[in-house]
Point group: C2
Chain length 152, copies 2
DNA sequence: ATATGTGCAAATTCTTTGCATTAGA
DNA sequence: TCTAATGCAAAGAATTTGCACATAT
């Protein structure tokens, strides 16, 4: 169940390499922990919590703290994307740069599916057609307001 | 999406009273902390974190822990609504029961405005027209998947 | 060589829980 | 009365920070 409707998806290897390039382009060093994290995120869809990523990495590559630091650094340069499912922890996925997409999360089993559409109502309708019950959604818009733009 | 532009907004007093009724109807007791919390939430738009609500209440009405417990109880019976702006803490607002709405949050000053539309793309467009820069949004769909529905 | 990244421990922040006490209905 | 609600203290969970040491470029 992938929900994708005809996009060209890059291979894990290609995504991995373009992530390394982005790291280099942004003066970030390519280290074992970063390779390991990217390896997980390009091979598996996710999104995963820092802890889940840590568990999926080979034993002893690095500390969980390092996973947090790497993810944070890689989010700033848009190599990964941070998701918030409102359950108290953040999840990360590889940022393909493809069409903006959303997730549908099962409230019970916490399974995640990716959806390529981007309209709330259409999404809820689709979710119901996919057999989900009790469908709700959260949507928040973020930006920098006029006042703050002027302030700097 | 919505079509009707001239919502009747209830007065703070009316909202306050209907909240008390909902509490009674659900066998919840009407206590000083609950009155104080509802007083804040019906007079000010919010949404506010538990801590912000606590600060807006008269000094010494109750402990912050009680604010958490009351909000949680009131969320279950839909007196309040919990919002997640992805910054690590939850916010609560009075649930008017009116048309589903969203928020636009300034990434810099954290100001919140309420928007009555409900379509992601239209929202982002509107946000830009309102002068916000660097607009992004998060949207997640929640539901119970077929497997889990069958399981119970 | 040197700035950047990492490990470990400890701190922070937000939220929840345990349990004895208080107070609505 | 008697069960739900509260206070206080403490636990939990997720994430961040300080600082000495290690390593990529």
């Amino acid at each position: 169940m992938d929900g994708h409707m005809g996009h060209e998806h890059e291979s894990p290897e290609t995504n991995f390499e373009s992530a390394l390039r982005l790291l280099r382009d942004n003066q970030h060093r390519i280290t074992a922990p970063r390779r390991a994290i990217l390896s997980v995120l390009t091979r598996e869809h996710g999104p995963f919590t820092a802890d889940e990523i840590h568990h999926r990495m080979e034993e002893g590559v690095c500390d969980l703290v390092t996973v947090y630091r790497c993810l944070s650094a890689m989010e700033e340069i848009a190599v990964v994307r941070r998701c918030d499912f409102g359950d108290g922890s953040y999840r990360y996925e590889f940022n393909t740069g493809e069409h903006h997409h959303h997730h549908i999360i099962c409230r019970v089993c916490h399974g995640v599916e990716t959806l390529d559409l981007c309209m709330a109502d259409a999404l809820e309708r689709m979710a119901r057609q996919m057999g989900y019950a009790n469908v709700t959604h959260t949507l928040e818009i973020f930006g920098v307001c006029k006042k703050c733009q002027a302030a700097k």
